[in-house]
């Protein structure tokens, strides 16, 4: 088992696995996205309170869940890198940050665009919105701390600690609609959430599409990161020479 993990985490093997896996994430992403968009925009009925305006939920909720999930993955991968010194975990943590920040930006902007017709304001200093904005700042802090060091190992160490400390924010975001009396509506998933089965299917499809998108982007970005980190090793030279651009 341990040997298997070590083999998986050797940079060369990791790079090749990423190359092989790319189409396995790209095509499911496209498939789930197309069906999910059809279900979101055509099949799902209008909401009894919010009319057709609620359809923003199908981009807003998956990206908001992903923004938190990616942060958790980033912190855990950073922790694995710290404890077991697995370099590829550091790579996964580092490349996850800009992707998670992008999901956070999508959640915040789609939420603002949804807030305008429903609340009459693009932005309010509500607990949910504020804690999600803090998540964006955590991502930005992680990225700038990571790029502040020349040595990638030192960079990974200090930024992983920041990521782990920032984990505190995740339960705050999740429970903010319960703990405080917020303008933001309650949970969309689970009891008291969406009740129409077509709406649930649409949300599930878009969520799965978002997961595939995340993994696809990790795979692409991790390859770049591995090439740069391992540029002095023999296999990278062979790899680069074999590519025709």
């Amino acid at each position: 088992m341990w040997k298997w993990i070590q083999r998986q985490s050797s940079p060369k093997f990791f790079y090749q696995t990423c190359t092989n896996l790319t189409p396995w994430f790209f095509w499911p992403f496209i498939g789930f996205l197309v069906v999910g968009l059809y279900w979101s925009l055509v099949v799902s009925p209008a909401d009894y309170q919010q009319g057709d305006g609620y359809r923003i939920i199908f981009v807003h909720v998956p990206s908001a869940i992903l923004s938190m999930m990616v942060y958790a993955i980033m912190a855990i991968a950073g922790g694995i890198g710290l404890i077991w010194q697995i370099k590829m975990a550091e790579v996964v943590a580092k490349v996850s940050a800009p992707i998670g920040a992008t999901f956070t930006i999508i959640a915040l902007t789609s939420g603002a665009i949804w807030g305008k017709p429903m609340w009459g304001a693009w932005w309010v200093w509500d607990a949910r919105l504020t804690s999600e904005l803090i998540l964006l700042f955590l991502y930005l802090a992680y990225m700038s701390l990571n790029s502040a060091f020349d040595n990638p190992r030192t960079a990974a160490k200090s930024s992983s600690i920041l990521a782990i400390v920032g984990l505190v924010n995740l339960p705050i975001i999740h429970y903010s609609v319960k703990w405080w009396n917020t303008l933001h509506q309650g949970y969309s998933v689970g009891t008291g959430g969406l009740k129409d089965p077509d709406m649930q299917i649409a949300l599930a499809l878009m969520f799965v599409a978002s997961i595939f998108l995340y993994v696809l982007l990790v795979v692409i970005k991790a390859k770049t990161e591995v090439l740069i980190r391992e540029q002095n090793s023999r296999w990278v030279q062979d790899e680069v020479k074999g590519v025709t651009l």
Partner: protein
């Protein structure tokens, strides 16, 4: 005529502007991230190729 009324000919009527704006902004953001990831990889390959050919 406000911008919201202007776009009300699209599906979803009075919400059309907001719904399509949200979907549009999200699509552009994702596509930008995807293209930049691909471009970064190409750039890295190119610069390494140059580096190795010099040595």
């Amino acid at each position: 005529m406000t911008i919201v009324e202007y776009f009300s000919f699209l599906p979803y009527g009075k919400y059309a502007f907001y719904v399509w704006l949200a979907y549009g902004v999200s699509a552009i953001t994702v596509i930008t991230l995807f293209i930049s990831a691909k471009r970064d990889h190409k750039k890295a390959l190119l610069s390494l190729k140059n580096k190795y050919s010099r040595s």
